[in-house]
């Protein structure tokens, strides 16, 4: 009995009229946790009841505290018939279980009904008393903090970044149980909401346990998803990055609720298991096709096809002995079963050494009913297989880790595409196990400014390249080699030098597919996938060239499967990295050069393309400094294959020499127009309109090239569904429709937000789904942030920029006096690797030796990996928590201790208006400082209607629902004492309609981190006013708290 949950129901307001006769309501409340239920008195005849109940106390296990949501039901009392439900509130009490997060949940919650939407509000106070539990074999993981943010949260410092954690749980979907035929839609929806809430609680607890096993205390970049597999069940899965975090500015105060990882670590540093998620196996009979790699930086997995008859079926039948075998193998294979994956997209400076490129893997599976929910190994195996593939792709790129890692699924009927992608990278091993992250970081910044181009340098062996690439010497340091184009799934590193501004680049693609059943369908899909990947990549590359840029960040490729088509949507932020070579232009080549008019047409197109490139360069302010050939030095010997985008490579070589390459000696991409298809492609390239002036857009956290943000932000979600007319279903028509849909959506956004100009749409996140045969649904969530156009960059230097500037000046010096700097830097390395002498010749690049050691000159892979693991083991023994310097962080440390203050602009009891809660998909709030993380928000809602027309049709229905979801998120954050949600994401928005029956249903899943932020301008004032504000925050609505 390690916990006591206390709940008090204070009052209700704006309740709906339940008794038509009196126009009033006789409301009472049921409070349920687990199997215990309490009731308040009936408050007669009021729409604003004041129950002011006693404290309802639940004595529960902490395991239940983590799994179960608190369920509050508001009902209308009826003497003669059954009581009518008004609505429910589910409260996740998880935030109350960490010592540093919220201490009380108190506030007005919207009362939600799955049929009627929000029906009034209820004021609730929730507290938890946790008792210390000494049981070592407990199943709970209270105290492990969860963050959706995919970088180290702002007021924490990473002591150790342990690595990948994953888990999944499965269950039957209540919507598909037999009982659903006899119960009401409301009951069915509520059963589903409750189940998912329970499952995600359980999932989080299990992940927490894994983190504790790894001696971590937090999960960063936590991403939880639902797979609605229909008949075959419901899967809730999550991935994240286990870390040991330390709160900044109060290092001594930190202790997790139930465990003390640091202490145990000192006692047994070697047991640190580097591997996790070992339940999965490779042993299931899986048919794997061999992969072929396409174009540079981009290794595409060929989809794997699994036939259910042999796959999950056999696993189910052979049950016992098979499992035993699995366990055995799992044991023995533990050492190799490691997934060095990180869900983070932004890192502490110095963490990222080199970036190889994007790795992705997809596989097509046929869904089968999950026979035993307690043994979800089929799904586990599927994912393990994909992760293995990702890992091997990363290895092929000469990288030992994958960062910016994410997983997704697309399900249509019984076919499921599993996708995983990430960026192969070489990491600085010290960050993974070393306690002195800040220490060595500081050193590096102080004495040995890193080349900000380091991450661009190729991690793979030049002579043994995994794919044809065109290498040059780095344009920044001129010592190391860089590829001509770089694709990544991560955010732009803060220390990277970018020329000009970035922009959102999208590749969009549709492919028709025949309707088919089961295996035939899966085969058809897996046959199409490689072509789609290839074309998406081609489009991305062309558009990137057209923008005059040379790198993509935040790349996310989504492939969606529908009944009769496949959709591909790739979004990324293009930038011009100073370290990479200037991109060549795009060259158009005709197939029949003798035809005069045709050639005219070609040259016309060529001119248009050239104009567009020139215009884009101007628009995005890309003016790289002219570098004469002598400085660069002789170019690297021509690789065997030049990277070109060719429809047919064989014919082009002659033409290339003939044509006047307007972009000088730079290699131009040749687009050959040999059929109408290609023509379409070229046209579609030119149809993308740049955003109107004053607007920028990107899908990364921040816009490269803009940093003078002002404080106005507007987060929004926009949804569009189009119906295709079935007559014109050709690939071209489809592509055009899809392209128009996306372009029009963007145009609409620019128009709607025009009052915010100059502004930037950040973290633009497109999701495509195919709810029905001829329907395409696109959901966009993004945030518009204003920035100050006039304020010169120099006047708004943040510490980062300052250090950047300093870095750039220092770097020039570094180039002039390489030897001096080199000799300076060498002794400062606490960790001189044995191989150093090998690189001493090229060490004037300024890369710390430790970094070089892991990044250069590896002939053998196994060697590298093992040495890396050695390093980890070595470092695990030398963790010292006390000696950490905390001075060098991006933000200045908070002058106030544990932030107890809330946004002063909206004290809840000063006037009775609702306090403002900001929402943003970013991990920060411009112009403000996050002082406290209150826990994650992870909410799942279902809304259904049987009166679609009356609610304003599909648009009215969904508009109201999304507004309600926002309202409920805000209410929960406010009740936790927060004033913002960061890293907000709408993970799912499943919309189904049946206009003939006047019905519609929608499922939405959102998550984010509830935080307290303080405006930077208010910081000083607040610290002096802290006591009063603290009082305000605890007396929301007067007499609520004790």
């Amino acid at each position: 009995m390690p916990g006591k949950l206390k709940v008090k129901i204070v009052a209700g307001r704006h309740l709906p009229v339940m008794d038509r006769a009196s126009d009033l309501t006789d409301a009472f409340v049921e409070v349920k946790f687990g199997n215990t239920t309490f009731k308040t008195d009936v408050y007669l005849k009021s729409l604003n009841p004041q129950w002011n109940s006693e404290w309802f106390k639940f004595e529960v296990d902490d395991e239940d505290l983590q799994d179960e949501p608190l369920q509050i039901t508001v009902l209308d009392h009826d003497t003669y018939s059954a009581n009518d439900a008004i609505g429910k509130v589910y409260i996740d009490i998880d935030p109350l279980l960490y010592s540093e997060a919220a201490t009380v949940i108190s506030g007005w919650f919207p009362i939600y009904d799955t049929i009627h939407g929000i029906r009034g509000e209820i004021n609730v106070v929730v507290k938890v008393d946790l008792f210390n539990d000494l049981n070592r074999f407990r199943q709970s993981s209270c105290g492990v903090k969860f963050f959706c943010t995919t970088s180290i949260p702002k007021c924490y410092r990473a002591v150790i970044i342990h690595g990948f954690v994953e888990e999944l749980v499965v269950n039957e979907d209540p919507e598909y149980q037999w009982i659903d035929r006899i119960r009401t839609p409301r009951a069915s929806n509520e059963a589903r909401q409750r189940l998912i809430s329970l499952m995600s609680g359980e999932l989080q607890r299990k992940i927490g346990l894994k983190v504790l096993e790894m001696r971590g205390n937090a999960v960063v970049g936590y991403l939880q998803c639902f797979d609605l597999e229909g008949e075959s069940g419901l899967v809730v899965r999550a991935i994240g990055t286990a870390c040991t975090l330390d709160k900044l500015s109060s290092p001594a105060a930190f202790l997790p609720a139930c465990n003390s990882p640091s202490k145990e670590m000192k006692e047994s540093p070697l047991v640190h298991p580097p591997s996790h998620g070992c339940r999965s196996t490779h042993n299931s009979p899986i048919h794997t096709a061999t992969g072929s790699r396409l174009t540079q930086n981009f290794s595409v997995s060929v989809p794997t096809l699994i036939y259910t008859g042999m796959g999950s079926g056999s696993a189910g039948k052979e049950g016992g002995p098979f499992k035993a075998l699995l366990r055995q193998q799992t044991q023995s294979a533990l050492e190799q079963r490691e997934f060095p994956f990180f869900t983070l997209t932004a890192f502490p400076p110095g963490f990222l050494v080199h970036v190889g490129g994007v790795v992705s893997a997809r596989s097509v599976k046929l869904l089968d009913r999950i026979h035993n929910p307690d043994e979800p190994e089929t799904r586990d195996a599927w994912w393990a297989e994909i992760r293995q593939e990702i890992k091997s792709h990363a290895k092929a790129l000469g990288c030992h880790a994958v960062v910016g890692y994410s997983e997704s699924t697309s399900i249509c009927e019984e076919v499921c595409i599993l996708s995983a992608s990430g960026t192969a990278a070489v990491l600085n091993p010290r960050f993974l196990q070393d306690g002195t992250v800040e220490g060595c970081l500081e050193q590096r910044l102080e004495e040995n400014l890193p080349t900000r181009c380091g991450f661009c340098h190729i991690p793979y062996d030049e002579l043994n390249m995994p794919f044809p690439a065109h290498l040059t010497y780095c344009y920044n340091c001129r010592k190391q080699k860089v590829p001509d184009v770089l694709f990544t799934t991560i955010d732009l590193p803060t220390d990277a030098t970018v020329i000009g501004k970035g922009c959102l680049i999208q590749a969009r693609l549709c492919r028709l597919k025949k309707k088919a059943q089961a295996e035939a369908n899966a085969t058809a899909i897996s046959n199409l996938l490689p072509f789609m990947e290839y074309e998406v990549h081609t489009q991305l590359m062309n558009k990137l060239k057209l923008k005059g840029m040379n790198a993509l960040f935040g790349l996310r490729i989504q492939i969606t499967v529908g009944e009769n088509m496949l959709m591909g949507l790739a979004s990324a932020t293009g930038v011009y990295l100073a370290a990479l070579p200037t991109p060549g232009g795009i060259q158009i080549a005709g197939k029949t050069p003798n035809d005069g008019s045709y050639e005219q047409h070609i040259s016309h197109m060529q001119k248009k393309i050239n104009d567009t490139i020139a215009k884009n360069k101007e628009l995005y302010e890309i003016n790289p400094p002219e570098i004469s050939e002598e400085i660069i030095g002789s170019p690297i010997p021509e690789p065997r294959q030049r990277s070109r985008l060719l429809r047919s490579q064989s014919e082009s070589s002659d033409e290339v020499t003939e044509l006047d390459l307007s972009h000088g000696k730079k290699d131009a991409f040749v687009l050959e127009i040999d059929d109408t298809d290609a023509m379409e492609d070229v046209h579609s390239l030119l149809t993308d309109v740049p955003p109107p002036s004053g607007f920028y857009s990107c899908n990364t956290e921040i816009m490269p090239g803009i940093n003078n943000w002002t404080s106005e932000i507007q987060m929004f979600t926009s949804v569009r569904v189009i119906r295709l007319s079935s007559l014109n279903l050709t690939n071209q028509a489809l592509n055009k429709n899809f392209n128009d849909l996306c372009e029009n959506l963007l145009k609409s956004l620019y128009f709607k937000l025009r009052s915010m100009i100059p502004c930037c749409l950040c973290h633009v996140n497109f999701t495509v789904s195919l709810p029905e045969d001829e329907l395409i649904q696109v959901t966009v969530t993004a945030v518009a942030i204003t920035f100050d156009k006039n304020q010169a960059l120099q006047t708004t230097k943040t510490p980062v920029e300052k250090s950047l500037q300093r870095a750039s000046t220092d770097n020039e010096e570094l180039l002039q006096f390489p030897l001096e700097l080199c000799s300076d830097s060498l002794p400062s390395h606490p960790f001189p690797p044995a191989k150093e002498h090998l690189e001493s010749a090229s060490s004037n690049s300024g890369i710390p030796a430790a970094q070089r050691a892991t990044s250069v000159d590896y002939s053998s892979f196994a060697d590298r990996c093992s040495s890396w693991i050695e390093l980890i083991k070595l470092k695990a023994q030398t963790i010292r928590r006390g000696s950490i310097k905390t001075t060098v962080t991006v933000e200045k440390a908070s002058p106030v201790g544990d932030g107890n203050f809330r946004n002063r602009s909206a004290p809840p009891c000063a006037n009775s208006t609702v306090g403002v809660v900001k929402m943003t998909p970013l991990s920060f709030i411009p112009g403000a400082k996050i002082t406290k993380y209150l826990g994650i928000i992870n909410m799942f809602f279902i809304r259904e209607t049987t009166s679609l027309r009356e609610e304003g049709g599909v648009s009215g229905f969904l508009h109201a629902f999304i507004a309600e979801v926002f309202a409920m998120v805000r209410a929960h954050v406010a009740a936790l004492g927060g004033n913002a949600v960061v890293s907000y994401i709408m993970k799912q928005c499943v919309f189904m309609e049946n206009p003939n029956k006047n019905q519609a249903q929608c499922l939405i899943n959102v998550s984010g981190d509830a935080v307290v932020f303080v405006r930077e301008s208010d910081l000083e004032v607040v610290s002096s006013q802290q006591p009063t504000i603290n009082c305000q925050s605890s007396c929301t609505e007067g007499e609520v708290t004790t």
Binding site: R13, H14, W108, P110, I118, E121, P692, Q714, M715, F716, T717, S718, V719, R720, V721, I722, R723, L724, S725, N737, D740, L741, N744, K747, S748, L749, Y750, F751, K752, R754, L775, Q777, S912, T913, V914, V916, V917, K918, M919, G952, V954, S955, G956, L958, H959, A960, I962, A963, E964, F966, A967, R970, A971, F991
Partner: protein
């Protein structure tokens, strides 16, 4: 390719003031889009008509959802569904309750009932205001009326508290409610030259001086207090006004009054001779209006009477406004020198308000 569904939801609800105005003015989405196109917005922003259509639809949907809350503005402040900055909330409310001069002149003083609502079609045709907008304005009047009807205390304060309107707008609504409650006739041809502002001015004076709330007869006896403090004229006061009859019925008093006024104004008035000749008629008119106010019918005709008995005669003699002011001041003040007249306080309460009203009503 047809758009089945197209929505945009911001964490902070986007309000486009121009679209809000079009919505309030009762334009359909199609008309609103056409009007927006005409405003040149496409050229300014480089948007397409489709974008404009989608944007307009979105805003209309939002406004439609907000409308329910606007019916009870305090709800808008406390609701959680739409996050709207306070200044924007105020704007939404203020604009929603704003009304057209042309419309209000049509319904001012009419009973806010179903019958009147049926006439809205005609009003719409006559004023060129869309029927939808007429309905909204009418419903606003009616809603405010219903809420404050049974309430005690200051009319303006009640309206402000329950509808969160600006001071100016709350005063206007007080006038509308006051007129609707007392059913003052404002539609006669004679009164067409008067603006809503003129009537609102008079209403305010009357609320301040002629109602129960005015004399501060606060809830001494709450049970018997059936009349609304600010909405109904003080019955006792109206009864007492009969006592003023003596001013015109007693010939000596009337002559004395006239000589006092004439002596004081001789040489100061451009229209002195006309005044002298008309004094008895004007005085009879003003006093008779007072004595008749016990009848509901005559209360309703108050403005008609004032215009007929005072404004029109003066206007036909081309009195300048300054002379009217001189005359009315002297006319009211001189009564204090009439020794035989005992109802000085009553006279001041009546004439003080009437003087203000007449001066406002006296224009072309």
């Amino acid at each position: 390719m047809t758009s089945e569904l197209d929505i945009f939801v911001g964490n902070t609800t986007l309000i486009d003031e121009d679209v809000y105005r079009l919505w309030l003015d009762g334009y359909s989405v199609t008309d609103a889009v056409a009007l927006r196109v005409r405003s040149g917005i496409l050229e300014q922003t480089g948007a397409t008509a489709a974008v404009l259509q989608s944007d307009t639809m979105d805003h209309y949907r939002t406004f439609h959802m907000l409308e329910r809350l606007l019916h009870a503005p305090p709800k808008l402040l406390h609701q959680l569904i739409f996050q709207i900055p306070p200044s924007r909330q105020a704007l939404l409310i203020e604009r929603y309750y704003a009304f057209d001069e042309a419309f209000v002149r049509e319904v001012l003083g009419k009973k806010l009932s179903k019958g009147t609502k049926k006439d809205l079609d005609d009003i719409s045709t006559k004023t060129g205001i869309t029927l939808k907008s007429c309905r909204r304005q009418f419903d606003n009047f009616k809603r405010v009326f219903k809420v404050v009807e049974e309430m005690r205390g200051s009319l303006v304060d009640n309206i402000q508290q329950h509808f969160l309107l600006s001071d100016r707008l709350a005063r206007d609504y007080a006038a509308i409610v006051f007129f609707a409650n007392n059913r003052f006739e404002t539609g006669k041809k004679k009164l067409q030259y008067l603006s809503f502002g003129d009537f609102a001015f008079c209403a305010e004076l009357m609320i301040q001086n002629w109602t129960l709330g005015a004399v501060g007869e606060a809830p001494t006896d709450p049970d018997s207090q059936m009349d609304d403090m600010d909405m109904d004229l003080d019955k006792e006061f109206l009864q007492d006004l009969k006592e003023l009859k003596v001013l015109v019925a007693d010939k000596d008093l009337l002559d004395l009054h006239k000589s006092l006024v004439c002596t004081a104004l001789r040489g100061k008035l451009g229209v002195f001779s006309e005044m002298e000749a008309n004094f008895k008629n004007l005085s009879r008119g003003l006093v008779n209006v007072a004595t008749k106010l016990t009848h509901n019918k005559d209360v309703r005709d108050l403005f008609v009477d004032l215009v007929e008995k005072f404004v029109e005669p003066c206007r036909s003699d081309h009195w300048p406004l300054s002379d009217v002011r001189f005359f009315l001041n002297q006319y009211s003040a001189s009564v204090h020198s009439l020794d035989g007249f005992r109802h000085q306080a009553l006279w001041d309460r009546y004439m003080g308000t009437l003087r203000g009203c007449l001066l406002r009503l006296y224009h072309d």
